[in-house]
Amino acid sequence: MFLKGSPTERNKSDVKDLFVKVLLSEYFIVFFCLLIFVSLMPVTPHIASRANINNIMSNLWPLFIIAIGQTVVLIVAGIDLSQTSIIAITSVVGAAIMTSKADPTLFEKSPLWGWFLTESGGPLAGEPAAIYAAIFVMILIGVGIGCFNGFFIHKFKMPPFMVTLVSQMLFSALAIYLTKSENIIGLPKNFKAIGSGSIMKIIPYSMIFAIVVAVLAAILLNKTVLGKWLYLVGSNPKASAVIGVPTGKVIIFAYAFSGFCAAMGSVLLSARLIAGRPTLGQTMLMDVVGAAVIGGTSLFGGKGKVSWTLFGALFFVILANALNMMKLPFYVVDMAKGIVIIIAVAFDVLRIEIKRRTNVM
């Protein structure tokens, strides 16, 4: 129809090239987020308001932190389903340490009652260092559970899916047992600030937490030998063992780091809701694994980046926010979410296929 080399044909070719470039770009999911965001602006103008962007950001940080841990585990070709239970158990233990009150009607049957938790609160109730101590213990528990997972996966060659699924059940049940399924309230005001406060009303504390964890993870993955080992173990565990990589220690480290990230996420979520909750994070698993995978981290190991996970988390947060903004009937929201996720995944598969063909050719 068009003459070869004519301006119209060149324009068509340019558009096609641009489309392929966008599709193949590692920032594809960011473009997809922008597409959702911009296309909704005419119908839901509030989506671009400062208050809403603020919301999106405050919802992003806890998910991002937790998904970073999941990314590191996925890089070693594992998966950590126990992150939600780590969030729950660390939330109740941290809260029990620093709470200033506990209602005997609710807690007298708790195994913590009397020696750890009393009517006047936890062991560090009212102490200035209570928050730091509680966060420290939360991280310790998170890392401990991560080591537990890593140990069983490495030592007994058990499938990560099974080990972390069992951990999920075990530690979720423990969180419920410890509190008899009650929420622990009476947390210090300064702890609440971690979830909703900011420095000079500009930079939220939760964002600082997220940036610190992200930078740590990025340095770990990109600038250290351990980072290289993580990718090697994920790509080919047998070969990495042959060349002297301590695969066992690397796997245990990956799960410990995942536990650390889940505990950090738990700090932010508990602070937001001003309570230690034994059911905290129960519904987050899909978003956490999804954020890492949609960002570009491979489920088969050896591939993943912190920045990709940021984009994946952003995608989930923007999607949830956009669906809320669209005033859809509640039963349509989850269906729409599922459809958009499947479209994003389909695009991801398509671009991997294009990349493969390009490389073959």
């Binding site: 609710l106 009303k201 005033k327």
Partner: protein, 358 residues
């Protein structure tokens, strides 16, 4: 090239964050909120009110009927209703309410997951200056200012339990054996569950001469938990003679446990367990008609919906941004003794009538 693109994207994202998080400029001479009723700013005909209704789930008849009453009443008044379902996730509900705040709604009504999350959500609404209402499940404390419509759970549960205790006394006098009570307790993080449990205990304490020690069965307001725990309790205590449950929605669970044991019997049968629960839904109405249930502590659902809506609309009309009022629904107890006069006051029976069942 990739590195440059990364840097550009990070700079753009950071700029967006800082812009988003920067403090909002204060209006130069903003009049006091109380002095500028919303209605006065703009004629009602021009401005369509927007109210967000965020609920934890719609699992039971009570919540479904409450949801319907609130949404239909608001829509009938020409008010736009934005609905959010948190699927029993407190963090998700907080995020949804924050999204509603960003949409600049005129008021927010919630059915919270529990009393604690109601406080955190209420504080977010208070900070945004948006009137905040809680339907039926009250906040665990008064840290956040809220309009709260809630049943007097202690009193209505005690009234229903008093009738059940009278029936138990008849059994005691007839057989000379003390009656063993069993109480199915809801999620004690929910002040309603605590109130209902307290109502049961108050009457139990007054009638200890005819009761043995009671058996407590935790349900967490979850059918599966209730089923597992009730099965265990009944296996260990075959002589249970009275069963008080925190909510009517668990009747199907109770029936599924008692029926195989031959204990699901009508009043008058020697194997009948004196039974009662709280809410007043359609199932309870039917079971009372059939003679399986002795008493129901009734929350006046429609009255509570009316209380919260009236309070909310009044607050919006007056331009109040953080109204605070706890409004009690006195409720009542429907028993086999007062069925004739009180039956049609129960919301579950009204629904049955609407459906042509009565």
């Amino acid at each position: 090239m990739k590195r440059a693109l990364s840097i550009v994207m990070l700079v753009v994202m950071f700029a967006v964050l800082v812009t988003a998080c920067a403090p909002k400029p204060e209006p130069a001479a903003a009049p006091a909120p109380e002095a500028t009723p919303a209605a006065a700013e703009q004629p009602a005909a021009e401005k369509k009110l927007k109210i967000a209704f965020a609920y934890q789930d719609l699992e039971t008849e009570f919540w479904v009927a409450g949801h319907k009453a609130i949404v239909e009443t608001l829509k009938a008044k020409g008010i736009e209703v934005i609905e959010f379902n948190a699927n029993e996730d407190a963090n998700k509900q907080l995020e949804q309410v924050n999204d509603a705040i960003a949409q600049k709604v005129d008021g927010i009504i919630i059915i919270p997951q529990d009393g604690e999350s109601a406080v955190a959500i209420g504080e977010a609404c208070n900070s945004a200056g948006i009137p905040f209402g809680v339907f039926n499940r009250p906040p665990s404390n008064k840290d956040a200012k809220a309009l709260v419509a809630v049943a007097d759970n202690v009193t209505i549960s005690a009234k229903a339990m008093e009738h059940m205790a009278l029936e138990a006394r008849k059994v005691f006098e007839k057989t000379g054996k003390k009656v063993k009570p069993l109480v199915m307790v809801g999620d004690l993080g929910d002040p309603n569950a605590v109130g209902r449990y307290q109502g049961f205990k108050n009457v139990y304490e007054k009638n200890k001469d005819i009761f043995t020690e009671y058996i407590e069965v935790p349900t967490k307001w979850d059918s599966n938990t209730a089923l597992a725990n009730l099965k265990s309790a009944m296996a260990a205590n075959k002589d249970v003679g009275l069963l008080f449950c925190g909510s009517d929605f668990l009747y199907p669970v109770i029936k599924s446990v008692l029926e195989p044991l031959g204990k699901w019997q009508k009043i008058g049968d020697p194997n009948h367990i004196i039974m009662g629960a709280v809410d007043g839904d359609m199932t309870a109405g039917k079971l009372m008609d059939e003679g399986y249930v002795d008493a129901t502590a009734v929350q006046d659902l429609y009255y509570e919906a009316e209380l919260i809506l009236t309070g909310m609309l009044e607050a919006i009309e007056k331009g109040e941004k953080t109204p605070e009022k706890w409004m009690d629904d006195p409720g009542f107890a429907l028993t086999q003794a007062n069925m004739g006069e009180m039956k049609m006051r129960m919301w579950g029976n009204k629904l049955r009538q609407e459906k042509g069942e009565l």
